[in-house]
Symmetry: C2
């Protein structure tokens, strides 16, 4: 049994420790908020270093605007937590490739948002509480910044340093490329485009979301596990967790689209309903959608418990935070 450092109150007897958010972990307290703060700091610093300010003709500025200083960073947190769950050190160092993978998935996510917000797609003017990239820098620069961010995701996984394991980097690139491409995110977006005003049944809706958002969330977890050397059983557990969590994320997104306001979301609320897009809420109703999200959370946690991972608490907490988030 691995023991864990109690970060907020190192001298508190572990058995009675209570976390800042009031949840007890039993024998050992685990400071999830502190963990989040430290991982976010790690990710923000890495992105600040790796997303180039010096790219020519304003491109670097647009890329950095799209990526830095905003976002929940759910995908990088999942990648780091997955890597740490394999290593059994939930707040420990991670291999450099795990940090690179964490940033790479976020770059893919960020580029998709830049393109998604453009007038020919969702035509959205607000993202993370700020004007969208095309509003700030023009459509052409937004298009290029998105394109360059996708390339940069792969560049991050393939630095020059010969210390990195190139075969492992190739496997990470493979997972990321498939999650981003026609079988994954881009394919899901195409279904989404075609689905406006259409009646989809639940399996069609789930297929769309499995690709559109689920594939990259799954890749985040998978890449973290790969980078940390997960065994096949561990990788399978992480994948099952990632799939259930990815779907839960989207169900909750649909719930928030109708229940939260724009200021809380940091993006335009109610836009799916306004655009006549099929959602889990429009298909199932609000309370059944909430129940479904809870069942998916249970699935994710059950899968996680069965993989022989040395420490799953951070991944558990992340799953809870996805399903119970307010924005």
């Amino acid at each position: 049994m691995t023991s864990f450092t109690v970060h907020t109150a190192p001298n508190t007897p572990a058995a009675s420790a209570e976390r800042a958010d009031g949840v007890q972990d039993g024998a050992l307290a685990w400071d999830f908020k502190g963990w989040t703060v430290r991982q976010l700091d790690r990710v923000e610093r890495a992105m600040g270093d790796w997303v180039p300010a010096q790219a020519p003709a304003g491109l670097g500025e647009a890329m950095r605007y799209a990526v830095l200083d905003g976002g929940k960073r759910l995908r990088p947190l999942l990648t780091l937590a997955a890597a740490q769950s394999v290593a059994g050190q939930p707040d420990g160092d991670v291999p450099e490739l795990a940090l690179r993978a964490a940033c790479a998935v976020e770059l893919i996510h960020a580029y998709s948002l830049v393109h998604d917000d453009m007038p020919c797609m969702d035509n959205d003017v607000l993202r993370r509480g700020k004007p969208t990239v095309h509003v700030r820098y023009g459509e052409a620069q937004a298009l290029l910044a998105g394109d360059a961010l996708q390339a940069l995701a792969f560049e991050l996984l393939l630095p020059d340093e010969p210390v990195l394991d190139e075969a492992l980097a190739a496997r990470l690139c493979r997972v990321l490329a498939r999650a981003a491409g026609h079988e994954g995110m881009a394919g899901g977006q195409a279904i989404d485009l075609a689905g406006v005003g259409q009646v989809l049944d639940q399996s069609q809706l789930e297929d769309m979301h499995r690709r559109k958002t689920g594939a990259l969330l799954l890749a985040s977890v998978t890449m973290g596990g790969l980078a940390a050397g997960a065994s096949p059983a561990q990788a399978a557990a992480l994948a099952a967790y990632g799939r259930a969590l990815g779907l839960a994320f989207q169900v909750v997104d649909d719930i928030l689209d109708v229940t939260a306001d724009t200021a809380t979301l940091g993006k335009t609320a109610g836009k799916d309903a306004a655009a006549d897009k099929p959602t889990f809420v429009s298909l199932l109703g609000l309370q059944p959608a909430r129940d479904y999200a809870q069942r998916l959370l249970d699935q994710a946690l059950t899968a996680l418990a069965q993989g022989g991972l040395p420490d799953t608490r951070t991944l558990e907490r992340l799953a809870h935070s996805v399903v119970h988030r307010s924005h």
Copy 2:
């Protein structure tokens, strides 16, 4: 000294053989047109197999429309020729990764054209003699098809088959990602965007083109060499050739923009001049631009001759065809 098969007329005495285009190679005839036909067939069949028809909601159709049945395929030809120049077999089989690299660079090129043609960029309606992708499928689908093609380029380099050398695949991905990204093609496009109506001097214009088109042409040659196991000296010669050829390509492009008509080009002629974009012709004048292209051709051929490559004739002929093309 490697000997070469004479493909069009196997029984013709090699010393007196004359190719269909009337150029003599000296002791051995080398059927460049036949070579081109065979490599194009190889590339078209591979792309037909690898660019997915089954991608959802019309995405696959748009991707295939953007890529198949059109284009000079200069980049794949360069990749295959570079691989064959290392192997010393100008019409021989190439390693599977070389063919994958040839198609991957073409996918990056194709995606850039799809995005470049969009209304927020060049707003072009004609490409390769056909309506552009956004005209045919709508802007949103064109945006997604371009995005998915970029991801697919990396997917092609990273298939499941364990027979492929993953470390080599990683190195190919690295070259491609950098050529496509902010340091390469996307960066050059940003400079191009910012340069409309600006006065650029020759070094600024060359920096733009070195990134915008040169980086991917260089990558085509580099990847072919890498996939075939080029030595450092061979790789350096291929790179010097690729750099000179990349710039020559753009100088000739600028010349054709003012001297060819739309029907010959298969795309809108005169658009750079109309858009008040700086070009080598506007900067140097028409005849000096032609002289410059010739000097770059000479540079490319000189570099090629110094790398200890077993056979460079196909690369030589490709360089000639780039500089002396009519479209």
